[in-house]
């Protein structure tokens, strides 16, 4: 006996069609999938319709079969994993063979029933070639898809769920299911299919689509998924329940299922969270009508594990603040739902972004104002803007999603808590008592690690071609964030927000590239900032300016033999002795040499600023284009110089050595002694602890 519940699509009535300006979706999915918990299998039927929106005649289709990355050690993913650990083959992931995951297309037919089984072939588009990789499948179509035409595939697939690996899998009968269904690559007009293998460190790229997915799970399972739950059908005979989820204008679909979830819902209500003043501020900042900066309600769905029940409020608050700030800054979140999942334990799926569904990450006990879980939620939700809606190619230009997202997350965290609090833990317990005065800003954190990989790779590098996993992570997350904070200082905070808002609105539901971003920066700022990207995104050179030397002396009359009308005049040191001038006439000569220690240079209209401060509290400012290796600046003033400083406003956060940016004529060591004392103390304690065994 089947019962049928039609869940009303809540308050918005027809919440599924959104954003009038959105281009048509390229793909339509109708997927019916069943989770078999006894064999850890998915059985799926997928009807995939691909529309050819280009002017090309397309004769094939490329599909991602991501889970084959976990099938055997010939996959790009597992070989790269093994190689990055310095091993030959065994990455360790398949030591238990039931940990493997794979996907198999049992039948692929066209609408008229013609089978395409014979026309399928695994391909390896990336270098270096991994001929055994089966994550990309090409299907040669019997008929060309004409411009404006479409092709519909009926796919019958089965997939073995891997034991928790790389964002997906099962652990103890809890499931996180992502990158699980056959998904076409992105067809790029004139260039063909963009469909990369699943690499050890790369993410994804897909076209916008209209999803209609039915998920069948055991009756006692709680389900969370991308999109809006529109239907729930219980099958008592089979002991299952089928949930239907729908959403258009998204490019991926993930879901989770398990018995250990508490499901809570709350409405994001902009009226209670955002004041009219805030709306007016942003409307004038962006020069937009008031109504177009207003946010709309969003149904927030939280799936949280029972042991984190006392963190429900904290999760909702972080989500609301993220939806508020990112909406005010980058435009309203247009989807009717946002699902936040506290992912099942050990499913390796924490801190991941999917359209309209994000996974958080938390600890059993959390500290007030800590980065966990707020920062994770802010980050993953920000991805709905940078990846979700402005959907760049994550394989090729990961900074556009990870970097801008890290920057956005930092801005949200700043708005929520100010500087980040350092949280030190012992086992499950945060020990904030002796550490809670330690706070740092996002750019300080980003700078601390980013400097180390500047010379390893440019930021704009295909993900799988970074030198190593550190270079990938630090370049696309931290170095990009640092670059963007620098850009923010060069352009001004308001202009930076306008840049990002324009970038988002121009490329929403599209696939922007680095060049598109540069175009927006130049357009919005009215300046030519190409040099900035050439140097800091495409470049791999250190930026380091500093004061090479500073000398400041009283000007004394010269001695020697001088010509005069009456012949030669001798001025000796002795003849000057005893000659005193009034203080008011004393002049000082100051010579500052500014040096370029690094290879990187500013360009466009940006100059290196030099500030010299004098004993009488006056200052002098000079500018230098920074092209040569060094430049000398001379001053004649009424007072001696006290210090010289390049970039006194610290615009260039990415300067590799901020200490050499300034030079003071006298040394001061109170600060050094303070830290030396601390260091000494820790060293003394270390010595006593080590010698407990003596």
């Amino acid at each position: 006996m089947k019962q049928l519940y039609i869940t009303l699509i809540f308050f918005l009535g027809i919440g599924l069609s959104i954003a009038l300006a959105a281009p048509p979706d390229v793909v339509q999915y109708k997927i019916d999938v069943r989770l078999d918990t006894s064999s850890q299998m998915l059985y799926g039927k997928e009807i995939l319709t691909w529309h050819n929106l280009s002017n090309d005649r397309v004769k094939d289709i490329y599909l991602h079969l991501y889970w084959n990355a976990f099938k055997n050690e010939e996959s790009a993913y597992l070989s790269e994993s093994a190689e990055s650990q310095g091993r030959s083959n065994h990455s360790g992931h398949l030591d238990e063979i039931e940990d493997a995951g794979w996907i198999r297309l049992k039948q692929v037919t066209l609408s008229d029933g013609r089978s395409l089984k014979e026309a399928m072939q695994y391909v390896t588009p990336d270098l270096p070639r991994r001929p055994g990789d089966q994550t990309v499948l090409r299907i040669d179509l019997p008929e060309v898809v004409q411009p404006g035409g479409s092709v519909r595939l009926h796919i019958d697939f089965e997939a073995k769920i891997p034991k928790a690996i790389a964002r997906a899998g099962y652990y103890n009968n809890n499931y996180f299911i992502s990158q699980w269904f056959p998904k076409p690559g992105v067809y790029q007009a004139g260039k063909g299919w963009n469909c990369h293998a699943y690499h050890y460190f790369s993410e994804f790229f897909a076209d916008f689509a209209d999803f209609d997915v039915r998920i069948t799970v055991p009756q006692d399972f709680v389900v969370g998924a991308s999109g809006v739950n529109t239907e729930r059908v219980v099958n008592d005979t089979a002991g299952t329940v089928t949930y239907r989820y729908q959403q258009n204008h998204i490019h991926d679909f993930a879901w989770t299922a398990g018995q250990r979830f508490i499901k809570k819902e709350r409405l994001f209500n902009p009226d209670s969270l955002i004041s009219e003043d805030e709306y007016r501020h942003y409307a004038s900042l962006f020069n937009l009508p008031l109504d177009s900066v207003r946010l709309t309600p969003v149904k927030l769905i939280l799936l949280i594990r029972p042991e984190h029940e006392n963190q429900i409020e904290r999760h909702f608050q972080a989500t609301e603040q993220s939806v508020k700030y990112l909406g005010l800054w980058f435009g309203r979140y247009p989807y009717p739902t946002l699902t936040v999942v506290d992912p099942p334990y050990r499913t390796g799926s924490s801190g991941m972004e999917y359209p309209t569904l994000v996974t958080a990450a938390t600890r059993p006990i959390i500290a007030e104002e800590g980065w966990i879980p707020d920062g994770v939620i802010a980050h993953e939700f920000a991805h709905n803007y940078w990846y979700g809606m402005a959907a760049n190619n994550e394989f090729e230009e990961a900074w556009l999603d990870e970097g801008i997202t890290t920057y956005s997350e930092d801005k949200v965290m700043q708005a929520m808590h100010g500087k980040t609090k350092m949280i030190v833990t012992f086992g499950p317990f945060p020990i904030s008592r002796y550490f809670d005065q330690i706070r740092y800003s996002s750019w300080e954190r980003a700078r601390s690690s980013a400097l180390h990989i500047v010379e390893t790779d440019p930021v704009v590098t295909p993900s799988w071609q970074f030198y190593d996993i550190y270079s990938y992570f630090l370049n696309v997350y931290e170095r990009t964030a640092l670059n963007l904070f620098t850009l923010e200082r060069l352009l001004g905070k308001d202009t930076m927000l306008r840049v990002l808002r324009t970038f988002q609105s121009r490329y929403r539901y599209r696939h922007p590239t680095t060049q598109d971003f540069i175009g927006i920066v130049n357009e919005v700022s009215g300046r030519d900032m190409r040099w900035f990207f050439d140097e800091f995104f495409y470049g791999d050179r250190l930026f380091d300016y500093g004061v090479g030397s500073l000398v400041s002396h009283k000007i004394v009359p010269p001695i020697g033999v001088f010509d005069s009308d009456s012949g030669m005049v001798v001025v000796s040191r002795d003849s000057l002795e005893g000659r005193t001038e009034p203080d008011s006439l004393t002049r000082y000569k100051t010579i500052v040499r500014v040096r370029r220690y690094g290879q990187a240079r500013p360009g466009g209209d940006v100059r290196i600023k030099l500030l010299v401060a004098f004993a009488d509290s006056t200052t002098e400012t000079r500018y230098w284009d920074g092209r040569k290796r060094w430049q000398e600046f001379r001053f004649e003033t009424a007072a001696r110089a006290v210090y010289a400083q390049v970039d006194p406003d610290t615009l260039f956060l990415l300067d590799a050595n901020l200490a050499n940016n300034s030079y003071r004529t006298e040394t001061k060591s109170a600060g050094i002694n303070r830290w030396a004392g601390k260091f000494l103390f820790w060293l003394q304690n270390l010595l006593t602890i080590i010698t407990l065994i003596s």
Partner: protein, 290 residues
Amino acid sequence: MTVWNIFRRSFGESLRRYPLVLIMWMGNLIFALSAMMPLYAFVKNQFGHSLTVDSMLEKFNMYWVSDLAFMLRDVQPLLWWPMISALLLFLVLQIFFNAAVLGSLNAWLEKDSLSSFFENGGRLFGRFFKLFLIFLPLYLIALLVLPALVDSVSSGYVERAVNEWPGQIVFLIKTGVMILAFTIVNMVADYAKIAAVQNDRIGAVRALLTGGRFLFRTFFRAWALYWLLVIFFLIVSVAYMETENLITANSAALIVVVFLLQQIYMLCRYWIKVQFYQAQMEFFQANHLI
């Protein structure tokens, strides 16, 4: 004599033997100072003229830490290896100090002097070093093998877990087991050293057996005394941290105050070390069957 009485007596007695405390503290201070000197000189050279030193007065400022880390990126081995050698060297020095302190405590009628301190250290060093070598594997068992054992015993429990608590509980148990095992080994080692000091004629192995036999009879009382001293040490440590936590400003005078406070704490650490030896020696003498 009760454990509490011994603790009380040792408190006063170890204060009376302050020269021993001072010598050990000086050794530690001089050693640490010389170990950090290269880094100090480097920082002074790189930052001394920079305005950055002003930000070093803030509670925490990451810019200069990042600068320093980046400056040192290629020369870290230059810092690590001297540091590790220094630690090993200090270990040997501390073995000598232990010998000297216990020797001096045993000769309680003598007046403490540098020469008697070094004379005692020199006399006992050989046996103390042998004891150190004997106990080293026991410490390794307590600190590495036992925690690994807990891990392997509990792996199934952690593997079947549906949340992070089993893992965290195992971590706490592991830490507890490690601490308990360490304190036991440490206590046995202390009594072996005391036995060696009490009887000049016995070698390291016999000292170990004597100490072991002694503890076999008196284990729980000895352990209670040990923990009484540990708790006293913890109270002193928390008192220090609370006091330091109160100081949030960073004037030049306060930097000196904090430095003095830190050194007073270090003195306390060594004083409690002497008290440990004094109390355990008294306990040994009061309960040892001759």
